[in-house]
Symmetry: C2
Subunit: 415 residues, 2 copies
């Protein structure tokens, strides 16, 4: 007898058969005696198709009108899913973000949730209904329809779970849960039963892809228990919660990799206070997300600066550097493409010195040279050649004792 | 410098090119110095596709969820049209029915408008924006999304025009305006420059098809000047307004026909007070729309009753009669199919006796026998054999002086 929020992504409701499958699962949860709130995304490619229509009419459409357009995708999903749940014999009602009391700041395309009124959802639950809420959207105080931007439906689910005091927020995906690493790269990858918010955050930011970082941050902030699990079966997934029990001897909990890295080096930058700020502000203003930054003073009045960006941001980065070069004493610009970032993540690292050293040794033993290093309290990242990234992940997975003793868990993944 | 409401149906916004054409017309009207409010329907077949999806998930979907589903069709149209108008260089904003202040009763699938708050639209007009409003929808007091049912977008346009005090409400269609009769039947059919609300109502109810009767009633009630015109060119259309100037000598303004008529005769009904009420209440309860009713007492205690229904309602009618026959003294039931109704319409009939006689004479001269007759103050309808209906329309169009002197007007119709 719990209060459960279940979130289903676009691929889980991509067609009639899949909507029926979701409806059966929702109805089953209800019949087990739980109160159920469902958060759902737009069907399959709906959002992309609407974006393409908009682009044909206006290459630079107003953000408000894009929100008006795109929120129809989720509205279609909630209505259809409510009908399907009713066809399963359970009471159900659909709510847009606005009807569900989800208030946002007056910003279009990437609004943040400012407040959630739990009453509309609670009243429907009290009346015995499954409440189906449109993900990714809210309304401003004056009633304008907004979208939450990337990862929005995950965030809706977690925020709603926090607001109504849900016991659990289940995120249904096309994988079995959170893995020690990408099972396509390492056959021995294991599904984790539990993981902490911080570890999940590092893995999410590093491209593990099953949960949006913003939703994990929200869950951590409001202490919402998250379960990442498969929408194709009833296997238990991975529970994300505070202070996850550490498994014996497992300081490193997962290995992440990102194949999309470019290193930009500026050699011989004239040292001047404020130069670093100026450079990275200009890049941020141009919408370039800078990841690792390394800087060193080589002479009294000169320094070298290196940083990594995603490869699709390289062109914009070059434009910014062209503008700033002369002010920086015309440093030499060296671009290195075809790189990858490999990271080990684990909350246990804080109290275990030598983890980074073990990582470097593992890579050295495999003949992989390290281009850059970045560390946080629960993470060490190394930039390596893209060609060698998979070998690096495999070596680290083995070296840190993450390989599964059997392959049974992995077998279910591609169902 | 007028305030104009322009309404475009689903076929006018069926694809990107058509939306751009509508946007150009809207922008042109704005550049002529007018304030413009646009009411728009869902793109092409969107509504039918959504209904089909719903049917696959639930053969009997809840009306509330159907409204939640179907209103997305208009929401997509308003967002895309607003973008397209912006691409034409004009300021524009899209409003759902709710944002436009359109309040309805708490009924789903066929809600009536209870009140319109003109302020949201007026504020946007004052800010120099073209306001694009979703047709066919509104919200209840508690924020539930409702649809207005058939003819809903026409009704939205007229009601909004009344609420904001528009000077003119233009209804764009795929024909040039309102014709003296169907140009596919009579080559000499002429477009009418003006027509009164009552005449339009009779023509609309008789199947002229360019305007929904409910919208005409609304326009009459609030004295909204309506212009029916083509979305494919800039020709002037037909102005529908109170006390339209009568053209010299034209008592009959238009000829309508309905090819879908079945006559049901009950011969030898036992006379009993309340029988007629009982019969037609039972038919209404079964959803059968009865049109012409003729009854006559043949003997002291027996009467004959004849009435017409649409042919698709014949099966339901027969079921009702099977149940009631014994209570009515087992009258003989005679069904006559393949009939049509031909009607002459004109506000001038009230003060011109002999119009019906001229109609009967015209039909007799053409060798067409009349099965039933029905009259109102501005209309005479005759039921005839379906095979002879087109000949009847042609004869009446000529006899009442409606034939065009040239065929120039008709030429534009099939563009």
């Amino acid at each position: 007898m719990a209060l459960i929020v279940q979130k289903f992504g676009g691929s889980s409701v991509a067609n009639v058969e899949r909507i029926q499958r979701v409806a059966r699962r929702v109805a089953q949860t209800r019949r087990e005696g739980h109160d159920v709130v469902v958060v759902v995304s737009a069907m399959g490619d709906t959002t992309d198709e609407l974006i393409e229509l908009a682009r044909q009419l206006n290459p630079n459409p107003a953000a408000r009108e894009m929100d008006m357009l795109l929120t129809t995708g989720e509205q279609i999903s909630i209505a259809l899913l409510a009908m399907a749940v009713q066809a399963e014999g359970e009471l159900s009602i659909s709510f847009t973000g606005g009807l569900a009391g989800i208030g946002t700041e007056p910003v279009h395309g990437r609004a943040r949730i400012t407040a959630i009124d739990p009453e509309p959802v609670r009243q429907q639950l009290a009346a015995g209904r499954v409440v189906i809420v449109a993900g990714f959207q809210g309304v401003t105080e004056d009633g304008s329809i907004t979208t939450l931007g990337r990862g929005g439906s995950d965030t809706t689910a977690v925020a709603l779970a926090a607001a109504i005091g849900a016991d659990l927020c289940e995120i249904y995906t096309d994988v079995e849960g959170v893995y020690t690493t990408d099972p396509r790269v390492v056959k021995q990858a294991r599904k984790l039963d539990r993981i902490s918010y911080d570890e999940m955050l590092e893995l999410a930011n590093l491209g593990a892809g099953v949960l949006h970082p913003r939703a994990v941050e929200f869950a951590k902030q409001y202490n919402v228990a998250l379960m990442v699990r498969s929408s194709f079966n009833t296997n238990p997934g991975t529970l994300v919660e505070e202070e996850a029990t550490m498994e014996q001897g497992q300081i490193v909990r997962g290995i992440a990799h990102d194949m999309n890295v470019v290193k930009v080096g500026l050699v011989g930058v004239k040292s001047r206070i404020g130069n670093l700020q100026k450079l990275f502000q200009a890049l941020a203003d141009a919408g370039v997300n800078v990841d690792i930054i390394v800087t060193s003073v080589v002479k009294e009045d000169q320094s070298d600066i290196s940083f990594t960006v995603e490869s699709e941001n390289l062109a914009r980065t070059t434009l910014v550097l062209d503008e700033l070069r002369s002010a920086f004493g015309n440093p030499e610009v060296a671009v290195e493409e075809n790189l990858a970032k490999v990271s080990i993540v684990g909350a246990g690292m804080i109290s275990n010195p030598g983890v980074a050293a073990q990582m470097f040794a593992t890579l050295a033993d495999a003949g992989i040279s390290i281009k850059m290093v970045s560390t946080s309290e629960i993470k060490v990242s190394c930039v390596v050649d893209k060609d060698l990234a998979h070998r690096a992940v495999q070596g680290l997975h083995h070296s840190f004792g993450l390989d599964a003793s059997t392959e049974a868990v992995v077998a279910g993944l591609n169902e």
